[in-house]
């Protein structure tokens, strides 16, 4: 990048920096507020300042679908729709959230989301998935998870899986440094590798190599264990050509001094030989732990009250982005002074609450999904232009993840009579029945899920996906085949049973259309939709099972199904 450009950008950013400092100084509301109240109060203040009237609250059924997709990773079943509507209108959302967060789905979906966020792509090992699942089931405090990802105690079986985070990145030290920083601290500093960051004043080469220095000694033994080499110097060259030795430096500039290396040359040689053997030879006892572990020092610094704002704000922001479709700071790996949040006080409030309550992610999630901001419509029906996305005045439209989509597809096209009850507060319902059903769904869904792309920033649906849904035999066979397990047969059988008199003909068709809409879209069909599908189906009276298949195909390939809106 040429120097003129940097200057122009820096100059353009200066007023923003000043402005953000002013806002930062504003008072943070009381810690006694509930999370949802704090969110709504602070967003409303922001809307008032900007003269924004937010979108209306979405209807109850849409909110049910949205919340179930976000907390359970799937669409609701028809039994769940009924249970929801039996609750009093004022308590519905609260009871729904509590019910969903105590069901098996919650931890499974949360695990899937963490896996997608933290994995280096590809199929992650079962041990890692099990580790994350347990952390989600037990609602392990995030600072503990953070510690275990970067410095797992490998003598404890339950922490061994956590080592995958580092192991999967060990063959590229730059990847390891970048990912640790951007995924766990919300800061993408890779630009600072070759020169001080051109756009962000905060990040210098010293930070990049400082972070790298903490990780550079980590290696994997032949037996698959993380270990650390005895000290090695990490050198880099500045743009002005000066050779520098990296210090162990955290993003705040805080440093740790490594004890002086007093080894003789012979000891160094022996150490190098030991590391080589550990890497290559099988059956060796694990290497002795070093007295000074840079990686553990890193964790200590990152979790120190003076520095932990990075790890806290990063996971808060990513959690917010997952549920609200966009980070309070956007993009989520660009948390720095040049890219301030539009809602700095809210972020500060959430950070304090998160830390005060023991880094409890489920508490945060519950607070967000109970806010009015979460419950807004995704439709902007007014004549004025829609408010900017960073105002959170209209609900975001979120593409389903591959696993959310495929699990939902199975439920949407299943014979509703074959779906067990998930309402285990009801008498005589065994929660384990639902748990094993949900676990089975996960497995069944994963084959097709692997063919779909995981949505990232600016995600677009590819024509490959559209071709798959149009023409792949597995879509037809997995979801639309005629079998007792599937909705297609349920509809056909209902039709046969209902169709006794001529005048009932159209009416019973309408009720089947309504059933389908409720199962697939969680809502009732509008009049024009009913008449469109009624005509379509009645024209194909002679081959109704096929017609139902095509109707359902059109529904599951509609954007209304593909997105969480």
């Amino acid at each position: 990048m040429n120097p003129t450009r940097i200057f122009v950008i820096a100059a353009a950013m200066a007023p923003i920096l000043v402005w953000s400092c002013v806002v930062q100084a504003a008072e943070i509301p009381s810690p006694d507020l509930s999370i949802s109240t704090a969110i709504d109060r602070l967003l409303q203040e922001s809307h008032d300042r900007a003269g924004i009237v937010p979108a209306r609250r979405t209807d109850d059924r849409s909110l049910l679908r949205r919340t179930t997709l976000d907390l359970a990773g799937r669409i609701p079943t028809s039994a769940e729709i009924r249970a929801y509507e039996q609750d009093s209108a004022s308590e519905r959302q609260l009871r729904l959230v509590d019910r969903l967060m105590s069901a098996a789905d919650y931890a499974i979906h949360f695990r899937n989301e963490l896996d997608a966020m933290l994995s280096a792509g590809g199929n992650s090992p079962q041990e890692w998935k099990d580790y994350l699942l347990r952390a989600c089931e037990e609602n392990q405090p995030w600072d503990e998870t953070f510690r275990e990802l970067l410095a797992p105690d490998q003598n404890l079986e339950e922490q061994r899986g956590a080592a995958h985070f580092l192991k999967s990145r060990l063959n590229d030290l730059d990847d390891l440094t970048n990912d640790t920083s951007s995924l766990l601290l919300g800061v993408s500093i890779n630009c600072a590798k070759c020169h001080d960051h051109p756009l962000v004043e905060d990040w210098k080469q010293d930070h990049y190599f400082g972070l790298q220095a903490f990780l550079a000694q980590t290696y994997q033994t032949r037996s698959g264990r993380l270990a650390e080499k005895p000290p090695t110097e990490l050198n880099f060259k500045t743009t002005s050509g000066v050779e520098k030795s990296a210090r162990l430096m955290f993003l705040t500039g805080a440093t740790v001094t490594a004890p002086e290396d007093k080894r003789t040359d012979e000891q160094k040689k022996a150490d190098a030989e030991m590391v080589r053997n550990q890497r290559e030879k099988e059956g060796l006892a694990p290497p002795a732990e070093l007295g000074f572990s840079p990686r553990k020092e890193f964790v200590k610094l990152a979790l120190d009250p003076a520095n932990r704002t990075f790890m806290a704000r990063s996971i808060i922001n990513r959690t917010w982005a997952r549920l609200m479709g966009r980070g309070l700071v956007h993009p989520v790996d660009q948390m720095h002074s040049g890219n301030p949040s539009n809602h700095p006080v809210l972020l500060d409030w959430l950070e304090r609450d998160f830390i005060d309550h023991g880094f409890d992610l489920s508490r945060l999630i519950r607070g967000i999904v109970l806010s009015d901001a979460y419950a807004r419509s995704s439709q902007w029906v007014y004549d004025t232009p829609a408010p900017p996305a960073d105002q959170f005045a209209v609900a975001a439209i979120k593409p389903l993840t591959p696993q959310q989509l495929t699990v939902s597809l199975i439920i949407a096209t299943m014979n509703p009579e074959k779906i067990p009850s998930s309402d285990f507060h009801e008498q005589g319902v065994d929660p384990n029945t639902w748990k094993s059903f949900r676990t089975e769904l996960e497995k069944k869904a994963s084959g097709t899920a692997r063919l779909l792309e995981y949505p990232g920033e600016n995600f677009q649906i590819s024509v490959t996906e559209a071709l798959l849904f149009n023409n792949a035999a597995q879509i037809q066979n997995n979801y639309l085949k005629s079998s007792d397990e599937r909705l297609v047969n349920f509809l056909s059988n209902q039709w046969k049973a209902q169709q006794t008199q001529e005048d009932l003909h159209a009416r019973s068709m309408d009720s089947l259309i309504q059933t389908s809409f409720e199962i697939v879209f969680t809502r009732r069909a509008e009049e024009d939709e009913v008449s469109m599908f009624r005509n379509y189906l009645l024209e194909r009276n002679e081959r109704l099972p096929e017609a139902y298949q095509q109707m359902l195909w059109a529904m599951i390939t509609s954007p209304e199904f593909r997105f969480n809106y």
Binding site: M1, D174, N178, S182, S188, N190, C191, K193, C194, L199, H330, P331, Q334, N339, S378, Q379, W380, V381, A386, I397, P399, E453, P455, E457, N458, F459, Q460, I461, S462, V463, T464, E465, A466, L467, L468, N470, N471, A472, A473, Q476, E529, M532, F533, Y536, E546, Q550, M551, W553, A554, M555, T557, S558, P559, E560, R562, F563, Y565
Partner: protein, 449 residues
């Protein structure tokens, strides 16, 4: 048979991406731009429900517009790294020269390896770059550099050349794929990818078979049912879109709208449909057949086709390997150039040949050449190229560049410029500017028209 009247279709043309800055629907419709023309022509028919009747190849007005203005690139990717010494930069008589001679070409003063006799007679279409120094001689890292034109990891997934060209030249409502990548060797498969440009510009990647996946209708579903259920889908999709102007949702609709066009373009991959004499010209090799498919795709309007040929990684027996592979390249490349020229397509099509790096001038003890990225060659042919030009120079043994050193960014800038894409263009990924050509890259003016 359509279920709906035309007015139920969106009158707004769905933007294909949020990354494209300037075009909005009205600019597209006003017919002043190339895309505008195509959009306007397609808007009436493509958005009518009976999309299956639309076949871009049968529309003469569209076909001629495509020929007049649409540019294409065919990248022949020499996977594993071809030797510059046995192709475009021979050093006969030197210790590093190997057993092959150099031959004069039809351009005075320009000699190339004797393994390229057919190409030697087509140098008036060609430019040779002999001064690439791309520094990285590791397969994985080097391939990333030569696929994306960037030496430094940008911290975000960067699109490859094909995705960038698909983004620049592809049309939102195209009936053909924008980027096709063919690779059927078992070694060194690299799919490439669209990075931050998104799945819309990902390659249609062909490996196991030459007909793309899921482009034929299941037999259990009639043509009529296939199209009628798409109409039902569109009805629901349009209702959902109301009040929800969202680029991901739009991409969903445009992906489904393109399905029937892509399905009808599946025939493009079927070389059985070519006359026997044309197939015979290209030869019975898989590489030849893929280049014939590339020509068919380009003719139908596909902006970017990559044909990867492996495996050039000749650490041992370099000369046998190159005798075989370069001879095949010579034949197929010359045939492709002739075929495109005869069809009037060469003036719209750029053919590039390169891989991840070249090979060492030093010949190793297995009579092989190893990885070498500091002084190697690429070639460009066709549109925008100054025929018969040679750029850059290596020393007498080919050990280093002594004149006109260029890197991957310069090569990419040259390709962009040759096909009329502004090499200074920038993408914006969130707040991050990512230039289409990596920082500092400049086109090689000497070999451009």
């Amino acid at each position: 048979m359509s279920l709906f009247s035309q007015d139920q279709w969106p009158t707004r043309i769905p933007p294909d991406t949020g990354l494209r800055g300037i075009e909005n629907a009205s600019q597209l419709r006003d017919g002043t731009s190339r895309r505008g023309f195509l959009k306007a022509s397609l808007a009436g028919t493509a958005f009518a429900a009976s999309m299956h009747q639309l076949d871009i190849l049968q529309s003469p007005a569209l076909a001629s517009e495509l020929k007049r203005q649409q540019k294409h690139v065919i990248l022949i990717w020499l996977a594993g790294g071809a030797s510059q010494l046995e192709t475009w930069d021979p050093k006969p008589g030197r210790a590093t020269g190997g057993p092959f001679a150099a031959i004069q070409t039809n351009v005075a003063g320009v000699s190339i390896s004797e393994l390229l006799p057919k190409m030697s007679q087509r140098m008036h279409h060609s430019a040779i770059i002999r001064s690439l120094n791309t520094k990285n001689a590791d397969h994985g890292g080097a391939a990333k550099i030569m696929e994306t034109g960037r030496a430094v990891d940008q911290g975000i997934p960067c699109p490859d050349l094909g995705a960038m060209i698909a983004h620049e030249l592809g049309r939102a409502d195209s009936q053909v794929p924008d980027y096709v990548s063919m690779y059927s060797s078992t070694e060194g498969r690299r799919q490439g990818g669209s990075g931050f440009l998104g799945g819309r510009y990902a390659p249609m990647f062909l490996t196991e078979q030459m007909i793309p996946e899921n482009t034929s209708r299941l037999e259990s579903l009639s043509e009529l049912d296939h199209s009628a259920r798409s109409d039902l889908r569109s009805f629901l999709a349009n209702r959902f879109r109301e009040g929800r102007p969202d680029l991901s949702v739009d991409s969903h609709n445009s992906a489904y709208q393109r399905v029937r066009g892509i399905m009808s373009s599946a025939n493009l991959f079927n070389i059985e449909l070519e006359p026997m004499d044309v197939r015979a010209r290209y030869g019975p090799t898989q590489f030849g057949e893929q280049c014939l498919i590339a020509r068919r795709l380009v003719e139908a309007g596909v902006p970017f086709v990559k044909v990867a040929r492996a495996w050039w990684d000749s650490h041992g027996q370099n000369f046998e390997t190159h005798l075989e592979l370069v001879s095949e390249l010579d034949h197929v490349l010359a045939t492709l150039i002739d075929d495109l020229e005869e069809r009037g397509l060469l003036e719209h099509t750029l053919i590039a040949t390169f891989g991840e790096f070249g090979r060492t001038p030093q010949i190793n003890s297995s009579l092989g050449r190893d990885h070498f990225a500091s002084a190697w060659s690429a070639s460009l042919h066709g549109t925008g190229i100054r025929g018969g030009s040679v750029y850059g120079k290596t020393d007498a043994d080919g050990l280093k560049v002594i004149d006109g050193e260029v890197n991957a960014a310069d090569l990419f800038a040259t390709i962009f410029q040759a096909i009329g894409i502004d090499y200074r263009k920038e993408y914006h990924v969130g707040a991050r500017p990512v230039p289409i050509t990596d920082f500092g890259g400049k086109p090689i003016r000497d070999i451009l028209l």
